[in-house]
């Protein structure tokens, strides 16, 4: 059991509000970055993040103190992502404006401006685009292996799939990403 996790659970038992606050702060980046790279845009990533934490908060009372939180958080994040369905009809339109008169699109655009200042944008952008276009399971194994640095057996456990499948999905995912980045001319010159 991780000491920080143990501490959080201990605080949670005494003060629910503070415990949940600490848990959220500790794992928000972890959950959001997986969600962001899986969903491919921040709007869906925020939806997903919220779903993940609802699920965590709901079942935290039943969580056994002797286990670590991270594998559990990881598993919920992965499962929620893989089950994530976009229901365009029920989500708000991007053109809709809030009461300040700025549209969601504007909000998104302004927050992404900072990224365009980076010099290695081309590689990063091409990689994002390539990962985004992968089938869901290929996308998830690539994220877990290369972004999060998980070992093959950890990926198998987290996604509840055989080790051989992890390998096959990684092979295919990398092959597709390579073809796509090559097309973007990333490694030329």
């Amino acid at each position: 059991m991780d000491s920080s996790d143990a501490g959080i659970l201990k605080i949670y038992k005494k003060n629910k509000h503070q415990g949940l606050d600490l848990l959220y702060e500790r794992y928000k980046k972890y959950v959001y970055t997986i969600a962001y790279h899986y969903a491919g845009n921040r709007e869906d990533a925020l939806d997903l993040t919220q779903e993940v934490f609802i699920s965590i908060f709901k079942s935290l009372d039943n969580f056994k103190v002797e286990f670590s939180l991270l594998p559990w958080v990881k598993r919920i994040t992965v499962n929620k992502s893989l089950n994530f369905l976009r229901d365009k009809k029920e989500t708000l339109s991007l053109d809709q404006t809030n009461e300040n008169g700025s549209s969601i699109q504007d909000t998104i655009r302004s927050s992404e401006d900072t990224e365009s200042q980076l010099i290695y944008l081309d590689t990063k952008q091409s990689l994002h685009k390539s990962i985004k276009s992968l089938p869901p399971k290929e996308r998830m194994v690539i994220i877990l292996r290369h972004m999060k640095g998980l070992k093959y057996d950890e990926i198998a456990k987290t996604m509840d799939i055989p080790l051989g499948t992890v390998r096959t999905l990684l092979h295919r995912g990398r092959k597709n990403i390579k073809a796509s980045m090559k097309e973007d001319g990333i490694w030329e010159g």
Binding site: K16, H17, G19, L20, D21, Y24, E25, K28, K29, Y32, T33, Y36, H37, R42, E43, D44, L46, D47, T49, Q50, E51, F53, I54, F57, K58, D87, E90, T91, L92, Q96, T97, N98, E99, N100, I104, T107, S111, T114, E115, Y120, T123, K124, L127, I142, H146, M147, Y152, R167, L170, H171, R174, K175, I177, K178, M181, K182, I186, W187
Partner: protein, 143 residues
């Protein structure tokens, strides 16, 4: 002549998950196959980019704070005043912020669900507030 080597072996070689005998075989093969040497060189570039943490740098949007606020209120509201005061307070706060907040917060669907579920389990004071919030969001979504 087209090379017949299973190129996934080259990925496994770079990942260090290749069977030792296959490794010897692949290394021998690379000595004589230009095509596979080129493929391996490209794969090295790919792995470099795939494993480069900078490629995954993500800024955390401020909405994450709003989500936290909403979730904490739903799951662990702080009862600091008497019930009536809480209802009025939260109600006033919701009336002020709900429109703006729900307007741009992604996951309105999920939060509605949450609020609805909250109604079932929350103490009566919060239940009333939640119902009011649900009504509020319905109105917002109606257009």
């Amino acid at each position: 002549m087209e090379c017949k080597l299973d190129v996934t072996l080259l990925q496994d070689l770079l990942e260090g998950v290749i069977d030792p005998i296959e490794k010897l075989f692949v290394e021998e093969h690379l000595k004589t196959c230009k095509q596979c040497r080129k493929e391996l060189a490209e794969l090295k570039l790919l792995f470099w980019d795939l494993n480069d943490k900078a490629n995954y740098d993500t800024s955390l949007p401020t909405e994450l704070e709003h989500i936290k606020g909403a979730l904490l209120e739903e799951f662990a509201a702080i009862p600091t005043k008497n019930t009536t005061a809480i209802v009025l307070d939260v109600h006033r706060k919701n009336a002020r912020s709900a429109g703006m907040f729900l307007d741009y917060m992604p996951g309105v669907k999920a939060s509605n669900e949450l609020v609805k579920k909250g109604v079932r389990t929350a103490p009566s004071a919060l239940g009333k507030v939640s119902k009011a919030l649900v009504k509020g969001t319905r109105l917002l979504l109606a257009e």
